[in-house]
Symmetry: C2
Subunit: 646 residues, 2 copies
Amino acid sequence: MVNETQHTCSTSSSSKSDGGSSSGSESSKDSSRCSTPVLDADRHERLREKMRRRQDSGDKWFSLEFFPPRTANAAVNLISRFDRMGAGGPLFIDVTWHPAGDPGSDKETSSMIIANTAVNYCGLETILHMTCCNQTKDDITGHLQKAKRLGLKNIMALRGDPVGEEWEEEVDGFNYAVDLVKHIRNEFDDYFDVCVAGYPKGHPEAESYEADLRHLKDKVFAGADFIITQLFFRAETFLKFMKDCQAIGITCPIIPGIFPIQGYHSLRQLVKLSKLEVPQEIKDVIEPIKDNDAAIRSYGVELAVSMCRDLLDSGMVHGLHFYTLNREVATTEVLKRLGLWKEDPRRPLPWAVSAHPKRRVEDVRPIFWASRPKSYIYRTQEWDDFPNGRWGNSSSPAFGELKDYYLFYLKSKSPREELLKMWGEELTGEESVFEVFTCYITGEPNKNGYKVTCMPWNDDPLATETNLLKEQLEKVNRRGILTINSQPNINGKPSTDPIVGWGPSGGYVFQKAYLEFFTSSEIVTALLKVLKKYESRVNYHIVNVKGQNITNAPDLQPNAVTWGIFPGREIIQPTVVDPVSFLYWKDEAFALWIEQWAKLYEEESPSRMIIQYIHDNYYLVNLVDNDFPLENCLWQVVDDTFELLN
Amino acid sequence: MVNETQHTCSTSSSSKSDGGSSSGSESSKDSSRCSTPVLDADRHERLREKMRRRQDSGDKWFSLEFFPPRTANAAVNLISRFDRMGAGGPLFIDVTWHPAGDPGSDKETSSMIIANTAVNYCGLETILHMTCCNQTKDDITGHLQKAKRLGLKNIMALRGDPVGEEWEEEVDGFNYAVDLVKHIRNEFDDYFDVCVAGYPKGHPEAESYEADLRHLKDKVFAGADFIITQLFFRAETFLKFMKDCQAIGITCPIIPGIFPIQGYHSLRQLVKLSKLEVPQEIKDVIEPIKDNDAAIRSYGVELAVSMCRDLLDSGMVHGLHFYTLNREVATTEVLKRLGLWKEDPRRPLPWAVSAHPKRRVEDVRPIFWASRPKSYIYRTQEWDDFPNGRWGNSSSPAFGELKDYYLFYLKSKSPREELLKMWGEELTGEESVFEVFTCYITGEPNKNGYKVTCMPWNDDPLATETNLLKEQLEKVNRRGILTINSQPNINGKPSTDPIVGWGPSGGYVFQKAYLEFFTSSEIVTALLKVLKKYESRVNYHIVNVKGQNITNAPDLQPNAVTWGIFPGREIIQPTVVDPVSFLYWKDEAFALWIEQWAKLYEEESPSRMIIQYIHDNYYLVNLVDNDFPLENCLWQVVDDTFELLN
């Protein structure tokens, strides 16, 4: 009987919140209940699908272009900028390709590595530019293979600039962007989304505007998915170009490139490179104020906002592409004034998701790396599945080794001198260390007048959520319970809660209270006595650097400490306290004492020996209060411990 | 660094509630987070391990012996008895092997099929007896292979009775139980747990008591895991036997067989078969009251309780095996008086788990079969994994066909005449059907004075939980919303709650309100208008027999409607509303109208045509209120619908 009935939905009313309907089954969708429930459609779509969906729903979007930096320090700063500007909700970012800068190499400043970082560590949908002139087919294929391997899914196919002044065609070489588009489609089928450049005024080297349009059509027909245009200064320039494209049969999305004027010199340089002409009415405004950067930027923002409004109002434009010049202020200002900047970014999960295609089903992480997400991504980059089978299996060498944790984008952003000011030029005992932890929590300056804005275990300043626990945290750190991670208990707050919310609206989020800290063996001894009283309520793991491990967790099972219940979905439990990965985290957490802190001091110096002592003798402790509907008992546990010691 | 550190737990404090410790990793344990968290250690252990664990923890246990019935009706009754007596918490049951009754066949009364039902449908750990004399090696191997295929894991290896009066050894045949034990170990390695019989007074055919002890030792050394003894009448008989066994090196568990005397004739018959002698002091009591069944049973219970107390008090006995003679009262009484009957059985999951080894990781089911669990087990018996990949995949023919749903243990326990009395000798219109549903809910007699104690969609009487909703259910059934399944919303009750609790103690359980019913297309039209107002809160699936399907569920994803949060574990979500399996359930739910109800009436009769009309024209509706912390809005939805219709 079952097999005689067709299980299709002949009528269907789609849910507003998802824009998805139940009719038809998607063959590509993972069918197991182990797969990530589709919390965030974005994670499962390729860029061209996202674009189409946003266009269909009338939801305007923006994207941001960056170029690779020259120095490692600048790269670290650019990546912080990715994190900050990523919060505004770009549909994608793109990274330009500088043939002179060894763009396909493994250097921390190469186009390839910057794009890799954007995708994998910042979770941004990313287009990598690639030029083809003066390169062999093998070089290009090599670059594309590497991009694919790193999880990059989108290529902007460009010709690139000739080496000399004059353009010379190479026989059998890649002479035009269309050759690269064809090559990508031949060699990689439909794997990449391919973007090509459009020139609203025609390419400066084209015989004519019309001829250039025909070249563009060739690129699209060779397999490009969408077009991003060169910058322009008047909305009508773009709108005419778009109509002309449509007239000759180009139907893919065409995204206008927006250049907010940010300064006199950058404008002149760009105009020179792009061989564009600045309209007289703009020159008339700028020339008189050319030495007043603020005035020019303010004018540039006005001009861009006005032009963008015209474009959006035309009904022909659904997304805007910004040439940021790696700067934040002007572009962010324009986006905010246009209402495109997401003021309250909804988090699909409580941690920032990675954009690597193989991580798109990742929906659970151990809590330990909450403040070092890039390290977690790095150390699990060789995993094949998310979640994979490693949660309960202590025999699997699941985590990447630690040796590379000094990788540039994981290392502290602060130079040694600054760290010494924060963490102490000279430590006089364990108490000086307690003080550093306490100052980090309170935000008060240390006794030399410096604020402690980062710690070896925290990539970023204190989370807003942690502020909820500030008072108690201060008290315990002062007495030698050196906290590095914590979360309050939450008993069913709306998923839209600005501090602890995540996931689609209409849901409820929950947390078990969590506290993780280093502390002395003396305190551990007292703590263990106290924990007997809380045996059935509190789970604990206590471990020292040698791996001596004390726990009451049943059978090495993970303990879910963050979960959410949503309309029409399975339960999501994105954060767990996993006994197995805790032992990997333990190695990292202890090593940070030495690598980030002890090594600031001379060998054999008393300061260094104090840190070394802590590293050798302290325990790393985590506590979970399983009774999330009751008041968090972990502070009581700590209080009882101190009382026992007195 | 990671690889240099040994991840073992050098100190470990085990959690009391689980008896498990974190030290050491179990290689046999499934390592994926998709596997069932170990909610219930029982499900993952073999019988001999369970026995050992109970012995180590000092937790006394009991087991129950049954024989296969003669008729299909008696089989249906016996299976109900399994369900009822299973609730008392036996460690296992065993089913005897009657060579004359075609014990290995597929008949509904065969030993094999009764044991199969006990394991797979009643979720009971089961030992299948098997005798070997007068059978070929191939026959025996065939039986064992079949038992394995059906999920049976334990065999009681017996010789069996000779065909004639005198025993004749067969050359190369199976002459003794030890031959069968050896055969099982040779052919099936360690797959089965093997039990053998012990004779506290010596086997009647043995040369001597001592010789019989040596035979027993041979059986144990050939690979038996434990011993169950023949019945006896005095505790000292067993205790002496046990000491004698230990003296000659038998160290495996020896379980005393307890026979509560239930009547004069059954005692006489058993004594004749077993060639045992009833002690004079017992005869002296029984003979004078031999015609007073109640008095004998009462004496039998006293005697058994007293003897069991002596056995347990000896410190040598950890479990008691009861010869029930397929009767409930006496054994249950003895167990209750001994305090071994579990008064408040803790449910490991909100539905009864199956004991088939391949289902031991099953931790999620669609809610639709909540009242027909045997049908669900039957229709998913070909699945390889629980949970498997079928939740989200509409293209997979995941469910077994319906054609066999009249299988004996699925069919109604009530004969046609009784059903007609309950459901109406003659229906006069749809309203007569509404009345049947209403009477089932209220428990009030129908207008002919009969109580409606079952419905085609419910194997069993109304669940305690459903009583929480009784008043509202009555109201809506009266008006043609014919409910077949429902659950109230629960916002974090303790897992030990007597009505809605499940899983280990210390946890919290949750539910989303659920309502499932048949109703007319007129009501569906109004309901759909009302549901617009509840779009973001209520998920619905509405389908008719032809498969026309109206839903607002996103992307065919399952909606978790029952879940639990426990100390030190991942979230468990044992019940879901799964859009894909709903369409399989729909076929079954509609077919039950015809197969169980319409067919009670003559073809072309008005009564039959009324049911046929409902089958052809009504819709099956399910509603989930996603806002579980708020008051259930589904009654408001139904009220609004009725209001709209007025």
